[in-house]
């Protein structure tokens, strides 16, 4: 398997610490860069064996929220997993603010998996318009009925604008009496 593919496959196996999907399906992966590894004298593990195929890997990720407390943990997971791959000599993980992450980056597979865990995701293209900020600020809760991920009923309402993490809200379904989570449009 080409190195890039095995890296991508390894990244697919890393779950987000706070969401039940992989960091790739969550849309955090921005770029994978492969560079020739440093010379043998600078190998971190002190190995004298020079592997001409070994690479320095730079993984660039996008944070969901700038202040997400899971960022260090995710970066640590990525470093551990990728540096263990054959052909990898060292790993750098970068966080990038531009382009901004949005829920639009969550993959179809990610959306399907989240739904089975009771987390729904706003439709594509519904992220907040921010740059203009010209209209008067709305002061009503956006409680347009979301279909319940468990029973499909639209008898749902916003219970709390903040869920267990800052990127999620909590909804309640009056039909099947389950609460579920909905990701914010950011």
């Amino acid at each position: 398997m080409p190195l890039r593919d095995s890296i991508l496959s390894a990244l697919h196996s890393i779950p987000d610490p706070e969401m039940p999907i992989s960091i790739v399906d969550l849309g955090l992966l921005h770029d994978i860069q492969l560079d020739p590894a440093p010379t043998s004298s600078t190998l971190a593990n002190g190995s004298s064996h020079i592997n001409s195929d070994s690479a320095h890997v730079t993984i660039t990720l996008l944070p969901t929220f700038i202040g997400c407390p899971a960022l260090d943990m995710i970066a640590g997971d990525v470093r551990a997993k990728i540096s263990a791959l054959p052909g990898v000599s060292s790993v750098t993980v970068n966080w990038l603010n531009t382009p901004a992450w949005s829920v639009d980056r969550i993959t179809a597979a990610g959306r399907a998996s989240l739904k089975t865990h009771g987390v729904t995701v706003p439709a594509h293209g519904s992220h907040l318009h921010v740059a203009g900020h010209d209209a008067p600020q709305t002061v009503t809760l956006k409680t347009s009925a979301l279909p319940c991920p468990y029973c499909g009923s639209k008898s749902t309402h916003l219970e709390s604008a903040f869920g267990p993490t800052r990127c999620r809200t909590i909804y309640y379904c009056s039909a099947c009496k389950n609460s579920f989570e909905h990701m914010k449009s950011i």
Partner: protein, 261 residues
């Protein structure tokens, strides 16, 4: 930033300190409420938002550090009160009065979003990108506090009375958020901090009044000129509350300088 004149660069640093210092102190003050929010959901929400403020401050300190070859932690924790550019409104304690906490957040969040939207149009592309990224999160802060203002304004006479009292008390300090940093006009002229009618004092006041109307509350803001009369937070002249606040905030770091976590 290498191509920017030193005086302009210094003015930009002061402007970014004003933004980051406001956010750091507001985040610190609001984090005092963790465990004391009026209901569980709000306790979590308010704690999240306080954490956001501190994260935003950190990102801006890191940007300043990249401009000045400094260190973000040192910028946050190793400056004297006179080196802070925070406005007085984030320095005063809220005495654990929810109405005061909400009124302060109302003024500050609307002002932060406006500042960020101006910086999002900055001629410095890296700064514009960072500001735009933070603004998308700040929008959630504004929505959150607007909902609380309306909720309290339409609530019991006691809630209305307390919120009105807090709004009246804080209105002069809210206008003082607009005290410019030194040479701020040069930043406007250089398009580093662009000005526009939709991002002006009047548009900020109009947004506040729109929420006031929805909440059936009255807000009388002093004229903007009153904020420019005497030097205050943006010039490093602070309330007596700042020094003790910084002492508390920096206590652990100062107890063991350079400790690794």
């Amino acid at each position: 930033m290498n191509t920017t004149a030193p005086q302009l660069q210094n003015a930009l640093v002061q402007l970014l300190f004003a933004l980051a210092d406001d956010k750091l102190l507001l985040g610190h003050r609001n984090s005092d409420w963790t465990g004391l929010g009026p209901i569980l959901e709000e306790d979590i929400a308010f704690s999240h938002l306080a954490q956001d403020e501190i994260a935003h401050a950190q990102a801006i300190y890191e940007f300043i550090a990249s401009m000045t070859a400094g260190n973000a932690d040192d910028l946050a924790f190793n400056r004297t009160p006179a080196q802070f550019r925070s406005a007085h409104i984030v320095e005063v304690p809220d005495e654990f009065d929810w109405a005061t906490a909400m009124a302060r957040k109302f003024f500050c969040d609307h002002f932060d979003l406006l500042r960020l939207n101006r910086l999002a149009k900055s001629s410095n592309p890296d700064l514009a990108a960072l500001a735009s990224r933070i603004a998308s999160e700040e929008t959630l802060h504004v929505e959150h506090v607007d909902q609380w203002i309306v909720r309290l304004g339409r609530s019991t006479p006691e809630a209305r009375k307390r919120l009105q009292r807090a709004l009246d008390a804080l209105a002069p300090l809210a206008v003082a958020l607009w005290e410019p940093v030194e040479n701020e006009q040069q930043l406007v002229t250089a398009n580093l901090y662009p000005q526009s009618t939709d991002l002006s004092f009047e548009s900020w006041a109009a947004k506040l009044q729109h929420v006031m109307k929805t909440a059936n509350l009255k807000l009388t803001l002093p004229p903007r000129a009153s904020a420019l009369k005497s030097k205050a937070g943006r010039a490093g002249v602070h309330t007596s509350h700042l020094a003790p606040l910084l002492n508390e905030m920096c206590e652990v770091r100062r107890a063991d300088p350079g400790a690794k976590w």
